[in-house]
Symmetry: D2
Subunit: 426 residues, 4 copies
């Protein structure tokens, strides 16, 4: 299903006068402080976040899963869902495929479907943390790190296959997340596991097309509860350096130990030209994968502050790949994703307001109070009118969730797909 | 299947001379320091830990599950597995049922089967964290805390049903673990959720037979990632007090925030007469549910030090119910449980060695160095001969895992049950 | 020194037109959504936070301290500093004394000085975590929990003395923070330490004047690194209940283990009528005591959301005592406190905007997306004009820090007090 | 003061028969399992740990300090204290100087004093986290990272001075611990701070004598509570690589976020040839700096397991420098250090017992249960007789703390130095 431009336009009309009043007031204020409001809005329009193919269904925990009705049960339907999101928000113009959950049966048809929905193919993701039916070897004791060479070779071959699929679709990068690790002390030899992983990644890297990038994810724990081979950014960075210039570190916000200063990691990676990709979500305890901005919005702002600074100043770093990686245990997945997209845009907009010149001067003078005031001046600003204006400029909805509800889209999806459809994924 | 006494006896013979030498040496040492070795061994013999009915199969994480071959696919087979464990270790003489995963179809037959395996029925566990087929209302948004009265009533009725089943089997306590909570700020009104939970628990309490106990578990997070209604021992203790004298707090080692001093919680609860039950497992990050003693054996010792002290000194506290609550993602579940049982016995034995008189004197004099020396003297002692002796006295194996492997028990289970049998549980 | 009303008025004039434009725009918006703007502003005017007497000087860590120039070196000067803060912010109308750092030599003169500065005396704080010169017994191994009765009696007597001093000044509450605990396993008997503490607190409670309250603080660690006698709210709550109706729990934001859900603790305590006091600060790692709102402003908002709800709905709970308890290691202490006060007012103002009726309805319907939207609608609002209006109404500065800098107050303090004056405190 | 060999010999006599019985029994057991007991004991004899010059006095927290009587008040007395430790334990044959707390006034005399006590000079430590009297620039806002070039130059010059002092004494390495960081978001530009730090370290590196090493320490927080420039091993490793082959990472056990897998970091660094030094202590919450082995002795064993493996297999890695870095807030510093030394030797001895051949085979076969059994077989062994035998072989005491107490050494130190002597340090 699709939403027509007229539907969005008509719904917007009820909100547009109020929106204009708010936007004009804010634009005046920003103007007066020397900001180019049009440029800000253009930057927000240009900021596009990929939706992973597994994020359109309900998520779950090890204690079970509560299904959501009207879930997409095919890759086509997933792309349609992202198309809906993109129509409403104009911020979700890409899909990130997960293989083997979403192997296209008909590549051309899928490309067509994506084009129709104005969706491009972002990074493809391999999966060596689960066993698939008819798989020769099990990944129970690791994949790229396995002591058994045959298992490593199977995992390498799978990654090559994923590259091939991605290449056919127009993707330009491979994201490797390894669950490899150990549940118990002694289970793995740390050095052997790391060396095997490095060698395996190099094999995959060799196969990478010239214009592709390899993103190496890190995570301290889960699903292994004693150790993970790529436990932190330092390990990922070391492996990316060992692979070569097309290999990068990927930061997932939920993949850190308690209290980690993530924004500092972001700054370090961009300084060294090695921040390749970024997975958005939020968390209070571990890799909770809850809606972006729902728990620690100020941290998200501080991270965007580093991203904005790095994009501006670190030409050695490529423009990062953005993706939402959240799990929708409690909410309608589409509404949840709209809340995440809004939170990302808000954090980005606030970061764009930071007066970098004044901040630099205050840092130079060690005027710590002023440094904080400068950040808070940006953060305390209500930027929702900017974000809405960017959506309007691009043809999206003033208030996406309200529009989604008014148009009764979930009900239409249920009518089409039924109550018991199940999306592939976790 | 069963192991004959002869099989155990014969396997023991190969080890018995070496064991005696070790035991005699240790017994002499302990004797010389004024300890009654026979009493120590008797206490170890008497210490029995319940095995939950869901612990006989492989566990999993939200990222999937790797099956183990020969899993028990019925309650009868689960009791048989516990019977095997108990024959080998003589420490696992009880089962803790989980309803509705393990509702006995024929109560008499199950009681017979248990008697045959010398297994008693410990606490029964209710489940209101998952939806069962044909359930009228969903627990997606909570059970005993739900804003919808009908959901609360359904959950209360389920708990009553569990009591009834347990009563028929000879259980004397109900363990309530509530996943109730919220994934997002604002989702729940904390006060309403807590009040509903208190009222619901009181309803269940009313239904409790005269000689039963109610154990109220607490947990800070998972499967809810923003808040949990019974988030800590303080909340559980408050609710237990509100219910009445038959209600107690249950401590699960994995249900705490990072760095919590669990042994202090144990001491406080025993002082106040409110420690009802205890779930053993180990963890490095969260509720990892790995083998007892595999990560922090010294913490386990410190906890046992408080338990031993409390059992000796706090007559206001009932003898606690012990259970292993671990997940077997990587190991053969039966071997994993034997490692857990051994770790528990070792920690208990070491705690029994602590010279309480000297410790008290050192504490009184603020001789902190001596306090540590006294604990370390106990902890550094190699108590494995004591634990083995206790097993031998009770008819178990000198080396349970070795015996299990030599007797090729897993292979026999696979032969009987097949490679693809699946145990009910997580 | 003092700031004249004219000085504030004149400085305000440069900002007032801009402020009015902002306030009017916001007031219109809030009006349209059914809020009583005047009532909101009045509530902000009424919200007063105590400044502790030790917060006017530079703070330090165990690695040292970098002094700040112009620190107050007497209680009189400390009250003057709070007077300055109050003139500028109109939010700091109380002082919380710490004994023995700030024993008034001339009670009448001090009361006069406070009156002059429109400062009242909030809770008084005892100190049994440090040894004072000529003290008979050391608190090295604990105070109210000490195994030595003479030490406990000394500590009880000190608390009585603090009550007496507070009573003379007009205070109505005593805050007890105990560092008591252990650095090593075995050092303390948990049960003995807790029982002694309970008995000692009861002794102090007995001495409490009729219209006084006793606030019992909790903290998981530091300065003791293995255990703390009152380690969490549960312990404090239990002790407060044991003492009687005038005893309450005091929550300090920095006194929690990583990831604790503090707002839930607040809600629970208010439901049970036992939240007595509140210490504001912020932290990323432990009890960092940094500026309020500088690290986790959304958490602060969520906490205020519970406070606002509780003040409105929990008549069983007294109006809590508010205090800032931060350490000023890097910033001018007065500027730091102004940033804290602003952050508190912002969080309070946003919490007042939450549409409680809609929220309740969304909670009832399990519309989790709507629950989040309602909180975010309040949180994303830029409430700075409300907070500034409240200050203006009360005679304070539109922009307190800017005014403080324009009036060169720190320089005046240095001129009067010198560069090397040192405030008593940590 | 000094202990005579006769004193130790005579005290040992009372214990020696019992010791021999224990040692012989253990040696037989180990022999039977194929271990070379003499080699084990020789390795323990050879293992020497440096004592930092600041560890001979009482430590403190930001809440104060409780002095210990008889503290050494000069560098000579500190070396004497280490001499006493070394005589008793034969494990403390080195001192690590901290500049400027312990600048030798007469280098030759100090060298003489050290020689006399059989103490060598290990790594020297610079201090740019505190301001010294008459220092031109303050380190309040950082040293090697400071935005002010003059501050950076002062800090570089100080490090050069420390190298010079160390060189005169015979040290061969410099340890740089930087407190540099920020208390608030925005205070520092992460990229600038990191770049300045890298440049400054390179300047110091250039000055390093040919046969010296540079150890770069990392720490996530404290004394800065928002960010630290060298926050983790990844940053330290990156900087060490940037400096050159003589630069290494130094691991301090307390300098990690909660739940960090430290043993994996150790393994990674040794694989890459970059583990230079090691600071021993223990902790439950943060950088608690409590006695080694007092909180998590099993973690210490797992770390030693990696160290033993790396020393054996990673010829690319130099033999690491060992030091105890603990704080003595509650215990007699000398007794505390003896407990730490014992804990280190116990962990090392147990790690030496791990059957590496069997472990490798079990890892290869993914026999996780066996992997754990192999580690536990080593860990559960009571190795105290081995450690005592090593001490006896080297001329030390069978039971150092008991001997220290019997000889009333603390009393003698008080008699010589007085009750109120204060050691320089934190």
């Amino acid at each position: 299903m699709k939403i027509s431009k007229d539907q969005i336009y008509n719904t917007n009309q009820k909100k547009i006068t109020q929106h204009h009043a708010r936007f004009d007031f804010l634009a005046n204020e920003l103007d007066a402080s020397g900001l180019q409001v049009n440029e800000l809005v253009d930057k927000l329009v240009a900021f596009q976040v990929a939706i992973p193919s597994w994020a359109l269904g309900a998520g779950g925990t090890r204690f079970g899963r509560f299904s959501y009705q009207g879930e997409p049960s095919s890759l086509e339907q997933k792309i349609e869902d992202i198309g809906l999101l993109h129509q409403l928000t104009q911020t979700a113009g890409a899909v990130s495929l997960h293989i083997p959950w979403d192997i296209p049966e008909d590549t051309l048809a899928i490309k067509e479907k994506a084009l129709e929905n104005r969706i491009v193919f972002d990074a493809v993701n391999s999966n060596t943390f689960q066993d698939q039916k008819n798989q020769a070897f099990s990944y129970k004791f690791g994949s790229l790190c396995n002591t058994n060479k045959a298992v490593r070779e199977q995992a390498i071959a799978h990654n090559k296959e994923v590259i091939k699929i991605g290449n056919d679709l127009g993707s330009k990068s491979l994201t490797v997340w390894l669950a490899d690790g150990a549940n118990f002390p002694g289970q793995n030899n740390f050095q052997t596991a790391l060396s095997h992983t490095e060698d395996s990644l190099k094999e995959i890297y060799k196969y990478l097309p010239e214009d592709w990038k390899l993103f190496i994810e890190y995570k301290p724990y889960e699903p292994n509860f004693y150790s993970t081979v790529i436990q932190d950014w330092g390990t990922s960075f070391m492996l990316a350096n060992a692979c070569g210039p097309k290999a990068y570190t990927l930061v997932d916000l939920g993949h850190h130990l308690p209290n980690t200063n993530i924004e500092q990691i972001v700054a370090t990676l961009m300084l060294k030209g090695k921040l390749g990709g970024f997975h958005f979500n939020d968390s209070k305890y571990g890799d909770d994968d809850v809606t972006v901005g729902s728990i620690k919005p100020y941290s998200l702002f501080l991270i965007f502050n580093e991203l904005v600074y790095g994009i501006e100043n670190n030409k050695q770093n490529p423009y990062p790949a953005w993706m939402i990686d959240a799990s929708h245990n409690t909410k309608d997945p589409l509404e949840d994703l709209m809340q995440s997209l809004e939170a990302i845009q808000i954090a980005y907009a606030k970061a764009l307001l930071v007066d970098q010149t004044k901040l630099k001067a205050a840092q130079q003078e060690h005027d710590v109070v002023a440094c904080q005031e400068i950040l808070h001046a940006a953060y305390n600003t209500d930027v929702r009118p900017l974000v809405a204006q960017a959506r309007i400029n691009a043809g999206g909805a003033v208030t996406p969730i309200e529009t989604y509800r008014n148009l009764q889209i979930r009900q239409s999806l249920i009518d089409i797909r039924g109550k018991n459809s199940v999306a592939s994924g976790l």
